[in-house]
Symmetry: C2
Subunit: 437 residues, 2 copies
Amino acid sequence: MDPKRRIVDGDVVVAGGRIQAVGRTGSRAVARRAGRAAQVVDCTGLVIIPGLVQAHVHLCQTLFRGLADDLKLEDWLARRIWPLEGAHTEESVYWSAMLGAAELLLGGTTAILDMETVRHTDAAFRALEQIGIRATAGKCLMDAPSAPVPLRERTDSALAEATDLCARWHDRADGRLRWCWAPRFVPSCTGPLLRAVSDLAERTGTLIHTHAAETPVELQIVMRETGQDEIAYLDAVGIAGERAVLAHCVWVDPEGIRRLARQRTGVVHCPSSNLKLGSGIAPVPEMLRAGCRVGIGADGAPCNNRLDGFAEMRLAALIQKPRLGPDALPAAQVLELATLGGARVLGLEREIGSVEVGKRADLTVLDLSGPHTQPDSADLVSRIVYSARASDVRHVLVDGQLVVASGRLRTAKLDEIRRQANVSARSLERSLSRGRR
Amino acid sequence: MDPKRRIVDGDVVVAGGRIQAVGRTGSRAVARRAGRAAQVVDCTGLVIIPGLVQAHVHLCQTLFRGLADDLKLEDWLARRIWPLEGAHTEESVYWSAMLGAAELLLGGTTAILDMETVRHTDAAFRALEQIGIRATAGKCLMDAPSAPVPLRERTDSALAEATDLCARWHDRADGRLRWCWAPRFVPSCTGPLLRAVSDLAERTGTLIHTHAAETPVELQIVMRETGQDEIAYLDAVGIAGERAVLAHCVWVDPEGIRRLARQRTGVVHCPSSNLKLGSGIAPVPEMLRAGCRVGIGADGAPCNNRLDGFAEMRLAALIQKPRLGPDALPAAQVLELATLGGARVLGLEREIGSVEVGKRADLTVLDLSGPHTQPDSADLVSRIVYSARASDVRHVLVDGQLVVASGRLRTAKLDEIRRQANVSARSLERSLSRGRR
């Protein structure tokens, strides 16, 4: 994913968390740097790609997987997601983040933009710190009268807690952990909250992470309440431009697309989630043509139900083709969305998104020897986007740290994560069924 | 997948290729039968489902994976698939079938309806016999003036070879291998060929496997040449009813759907292929509501690019939802399409498609302990359809034979398949580039 999209047969040398050399084995650059290597990860016959970037996930929802299927967005939120988020404890938020991040890392995703729930975001950051993924995360903000009662907060106290979390977690772990401001979406936030978030993001040099234009119902609510198209309203309250990341953008018209492109607002395409909730198909090729910055993301586990960058890449390519023709969004463009595209949305394109000297060593190593990725003479990018699966990931490095080796998580015990996550999930389900009675 | 859709915590006893008992460990039925067991496959904590059925694949195309991406059906056929099929040798057809069947078995698919190419179908059957998958397969038939030259045959010689293959391979390997008549699609077949196929299928008690209503271009050609809608024309030449299986059926109108349902013609939904070639989204919920018999299939590797029953199930569910709402085609209905639905299309619903006493022991055993399928308290069918992946398959039995054990193919050497498939693929690509000069 360097500017020339070169595919190099050789070695990658990593030191101090960064890529020091990329080149043929034995070449001068590699030999000079590799001499100092303390550890060799044998990648003979394997394929090294930039770690995948998923620029919209909700790790706090990982424990809700399979508990909210085959429902519309509005019902999905009101009947399942709000009550479950409301029932979260510090413990359950921690294990939900661990479970989700484990799946992400094992599946080759090295960087995420995450929206947590209203409470216990500190616990999520502790999980992210422990497990070693690159994460920009934020506490969800909801203060509008129409926001769900168990999650609604007063504007000032919500912002005070968020400011506190920003101070505690932004730019930690050598920059691997960052803070973002995460107003849920326009219908659950007041204008004053959104404007304050815009100011705070500017002042602290941080991102804003929200949802926009996911369904026609949402657009109607915003139009009714603000008299404006949602993208225009977000712009009016200062949520636009390079600091802003809008997940979904399924229902944007050509004017909205031009506005997003002109202002360089980040867009995150979530193909599985948009299908599963029946939201629609985002006009991604149109957005790319207009010059929008676009990444991809799995969204939360209950609306997907995987957190699988390979599933999202493949689907992102496939779903545009009936609408625009089979040459729409070809494999190479999709691989870019899932790597450099996500890096750009995160404002990290100088740090991650390609295997280049000087960048952070966020690397995913694939074993494409399975029968499902043969013949091996076919186009490598096609094999990665259309054929490979998360289970083909062998090794993963984040910031030069080997977090997955030979398909095993090294930064936490997977057995413990599974056990504790299941204990927490059962406890949340009990809360929910108590709430129903 | 028994009529009550029970989920049983217990054992499955298999003997003579069939399921002898299903029930709780230590229950009378199980204990009496299990006493005679020669081999125990420990499935503690695992999930046993009916082997997946894919009722439309082209194993001869497995070697073309990644060689024909991002093209329209008509270009995809003319520029890549026809020339590649034309270049096939006995050797390459054999290894193409082995590679595809290996991927299918390792991914939990135990039964297929397969369309081979015009030549060397005997080699494909030898591969299917060796590797142990349940397969109904046929030589492709093309005799129309508009059929591609390297693959066009004289009607009588094509039918003579097919009749010979039917005699040699139908109902072999204890019924595991069966023959089908495989006219490619209406535009490449003459009326006399199609009528003869209908008679031959009736006389030999075998299936007819063809494509129909995949693209609007195809419908226009058929309308121009026959003056009829394609489904009606197929009916007129005798390709309808329980013996007929039509892959795709993307572009069928309500009248066509009623006709398919009334005549009990088999339909095979190929969601990935229909997206990748830009064909569209088949009206599967409408067909099911009308009473059609519907299965699913991955189609060929170059238009997918996986042969993955789990990817097809998940996508079949997801793609209907933007059109019909998030409750369209829920998980349980999709699991039925991929098991009993496929069995019905194959005319094998008394033999396979569910884990029931008396049926053939075609079983897929899943390990759902991965982080991507947690929490384990969620609905099991949702976990299988929306979260599980082909790599979660641990063991696979076909006809009671353990063909995959602990994720490893036991009936053939995967290393050899990979090596030979790659040699053959390179040789086909060389033929193709020679042809271009």
